[in-house]
């Protein structure tokens, strides 16, 4: 067992942390609202490793494993950086896996000015994929249509106002779409992409939760009521201690899910589901407690904690009702149930 980051991973984390701290402070997050995309930030993050960082080196990528990527999305979530890095990482890995049919699109992601790409989480119905993450800015969208894995490209539609100020939108898969893979291979590729999305989103939510916790702790140390810092009240310390525990757990669970996928453990799909559900719940709890600790100020737009509170909920909904997520996890753990 080794829960430490190796030296390369430590460097990776340090680089992304420093980048986001400098380039994506809350003011940048705010100015990208409501659209949720900062093109300038997107072009600059490519210098650290764009969406193809998790693609094998032989295919022009950075050769990073899922553990490395989850370490990056922890930092992404911690900063709420308004860039579609997570979505792009997933899309790039799918395109690399399909081989020749995805090569041309993949080249647009390995370039020094990478395109915005994403994967539709829910299957395409009647030529439409609904509520696609980064669908409002993506030039390339991978989706599952029946038993075909398909690629649509073109101008993104206008994004929709939403809770998390994310560039979510519906996308059309017209006649000009490309078939990347078919049959069971297509289903497997999409299922793998969804599990990678769950895992990387878990990392982002854990990072979001850690930052929200930090906001709450700092405020509790500084804010005085009744002549003492409110953090000395046990009812406040109690909630923050519970959140700290859950955030640590969520962080480790996301990393474990990524590790399990990297080393092809048979329980990797179950861990991806667990990590996603737990990190989503934890991020909501962390940002909820942090907001509450701020009192009335936490409810104002002026304070940053609301940025985290809204996104924690929004990100946890992208795959649907989390309680249905538990049912999906149960299918993985116990086999499909006969009743629904």
């Amino acid at each position: 067992m080794d829960l430490d980051l190796n030296p390369q991973q430590q460097d990776l984390v340090a680089a992304f942390r420093a980048f986001f701290l400098k380039e994506s402070p809350p003011s940048v997050v705010r100015s990208a609202e409501p659209h949720g995309f900062d093109p300038s930030l997107w072009s600059r993050v490519a210098q650290l490793g764009g969406p193809a960082i998790g693609v094998p080196e032989g295919s022009g990528g950075g050769g990073a494993g899922l553990v490395d990527l989850v370490l990056i999305t922890e930092q992404l979530g911690a900063s709420l950086a308004p860039i579609p890095l997570l979505e792009g990482m997933i899309a790039a890995r799918v395109l690399a896996r399909v081989g020749d049919s995805g090569r041309e699109a993949l080249e647009r992601l390995t370039s020094s000015a990478p395109a915005v790409a994403t994967v539709a989480l829910t299957p395409v119905r009647d030529g439409q994929a609904r509520m696609v993450p980064a669908g409002g800015i993506a030039e390339l969208v991978v989706g599952l249509d029946g038993s075909d894995l398909v690629l649509a490209s073109g101008e993104p539609p206008v994004g929709r106002r939403n809770l998390g100020d994310s560039p979510v939108a519906d996308r059309s898969f017209g006649a000009d779409r490309t078939v990347l893979a078919s049959g069971s291979a297509a289903l497997e590729l999409h299922a793998t992409a969804l599990n990678e999305w769950r895992t990387l989103t878990a990392g982002a939510q854990a990072g979001l939760g850690a930052t929200a916790l930090g906001l709450g702790v700092e405020y509790a140390k500084q804010r005085k009521q009744f002549g003492v810092p409110i953090g000395s009240f046990q009812s406040i310390a109690r909630d923050l201690a519970d959140v700290a525990t859950a955030v640590d757990g969520a962080t480790m669970l996301a990393r474990e899910a990524a590790w399990a996928a990297d080393v092809c453990q048979t329980d990797a799909p179950a861990l991806a589901g667990m990590a996603f559900l737990f990190a989503g719940r934890t991020a909501q709890k962390a940002s909820g407690v942090a907001l509450h600790v701020h009192g009335g100020y936490g409810f104002t737009l002026e304070y940053d904690v609301q940025l985290y509170y809204r996104r924690a909920k929004a990100w946890s909904l992208a795959l649907g009702d989390p309680r249905r997520g538990l049912q999906a996890l149960a299918d993985v753990l116990f086999g499909p149930g006969a009743r629904t």
Binding site: M1, D2, L3, D4, L5, N6, Q9, V67, V217, A220, K221, V228, P229, G231, S232, F233, Q234, A237, R238, L240, A241, D242, A244, T245, A246, D248, G249, A250, M252, L253, R255, E256, W259, A260, A270, L271, M274, L277, F278, R323, L326, Q327, L329, A330, L333, F334, G337, A338, R339, T340
Partner: protein
């Protein structure tokens, strides 16, 4: 990064399973359940003969020098099998404390029989008026020549009726601040003046109230310096919170899943097909995985030579609180029949869920309450100011 315990641990797991198949018959599990005494001498001596009580100890003490991960694997298997481990857990806390702060004579006298499984220790910290505020202990020890004379009462002296010694916290100086006037002793439980009364718990466990009336203890049974008992306690409490892996929550989850897969509901369909059952079991599985990771991290920090204080508190807080909540959720999913106890043929999952519901509550209390753990996390982990008391 590597979340597996490693090949050596997997080999050890197999050995432990074979050992349990031979040395832990169903009669032992049933007897432990019925008597509430989570210790069995036949089993414990077999464990000692195998070298597993001192598995983590250096070879110079007759140990096997196994790392914290192997200990995690060993304990995981014992817990999943429902083996009685209270005597093991308590005795290792005391033995490790003796190893760290005891005299050479104490090490010679206590450690070999403790590691061989010939004696066990009880813990004498809590009193009727002091639990979390353990340093407020009133039990007195006064010097009389080469002896100390002990008077007072201890509460929750679990396994005192089986143990050779109680590791007792006593006040030796009432004139100074409460943390500064305490001393630790190993008190033979067969000493004249020791009395005990059984205390029975909601979870079916038996613990004890122990009474000390002019009990004479030789000074050589003092552990650590006079009035230095708080430092000794601090070492011992850290041992109490570390070294976990899986818990009863994992065992009962496995039992519940096995039951749900093999049992038909009132409508004639398998219980495991019920979405409400699936949701509860899936949700508990997540909480158990988080508990396991928090436990592994505690072992990992310890393996690196660190003192996992905050990490240990986080694990203790999480596993006990989530187990208590999940026991309630699992019982809900069973409905009216969930109340049936072990021994009733209709009791779902052989009554283990009902038992967990009664047992889990104590895990949020013993070994430092959830409130104490949250205080440690808040102050030492998050740097929040100490509450005004």
């Amino acid at each position: 990064m590597d979340f597996s315990l490693g090949d050596r641990c997997e080999e050890l797991r197999t050995e432990v399973r074979e050992f349990l198949a031979e040395h832990l018959p169903q009669e032992t599990i049933d007897r432990v359940h019925e008597t509430g005494t989570a210790h069995d001498w036949t089993f414990y001596r077999a464990l000692g003969a195998r070298g597993w009580i001192g598995a983590a100890w250096p070879k110079e003490f007759g140990g096997q020098d196994r790392d914290p991960f192997e200990m995690t694997a060993l304990r995981d298997e014992l817990r999943l099998a429902g083996a009685p481990t209270d005597g093991l857990g308590q005795s290792l806390i005391v033995a490790r404390t003796i190893r760290h702060v005891g005299t050479e004579d104490q090490k010679q006298e206590f450690l070999p029989p403790a590691l061989a499984g010939e004696i066990i220790f009880a813990l004498g910290y809590s009193e009727p008026d002091s639990g979390s505020d353990v340093a407020a202990a009133k039990t007195r020890a006064t010097r009389d020549g080469d002896d100390w004379v002990i008077n007072g009462q201890k509460m929750f002296t679990t396994l005192a009726h089986e143990a050779a010694f109680v590791f007792l916290l006593a006040r030796t100086n009432p004139e100074v601040a409460k943390h500064k006037g305490l001393t630790m002793f190993l008190v033979p439980l067969d000493s004249p003046g020791v009395e005990m009364h059984p205390v029975h718990t909601m979870g079916g466990e038996r613990t004890n109230a122990t009474f000390y009336n002019d009990v004479r203890v030789p000074d050589r049974y003092r552990v650590g310096s006079v009035d230095g008992g708080w430092d000794v306690m601090t070492v011992a409490l850290t041992f109490e919170r570390g070294g976990f892996g899986l818990s009863d929550a994992d065992r009962v989850w496995q039992q519940a899943v096995a039951w749900a897969k093999t049992t038909l509901g009132d409508d004639g369909t398998p219980i495991i097909d019920d979405p409400l059952v699936r949701e509860r079991l899936a949700s508990m599985r997540i909480n158990n995985e988080v508990a396991k990771l928090l436990a592994y991290r505690t072992s990992f920090v310890a393996a690196r030579g660190g003192l996992p204080t905050v990490e240990g508190s986080m694990h203790k807080l999480w596993y006990s609180e989530s187990m208590t909540a999940d026991a309630g959720e699992l019982l809900d999913m069973l409905g009216a029949k969930g109340v049936l106890r072990r021994g009733d043929g209709d009791a779902p999952a052989d009554g283990w869920i009902e038992h967990l519901y009664r047992h889990a509550a104590v895990t949020t209390i013993y070994g430092g309450t959830s409130e104490v753990q949250r205080g440690i996390i808040a102050e030492r982990g998050l740097g929040l100011p100490r509450p005004g008391r």
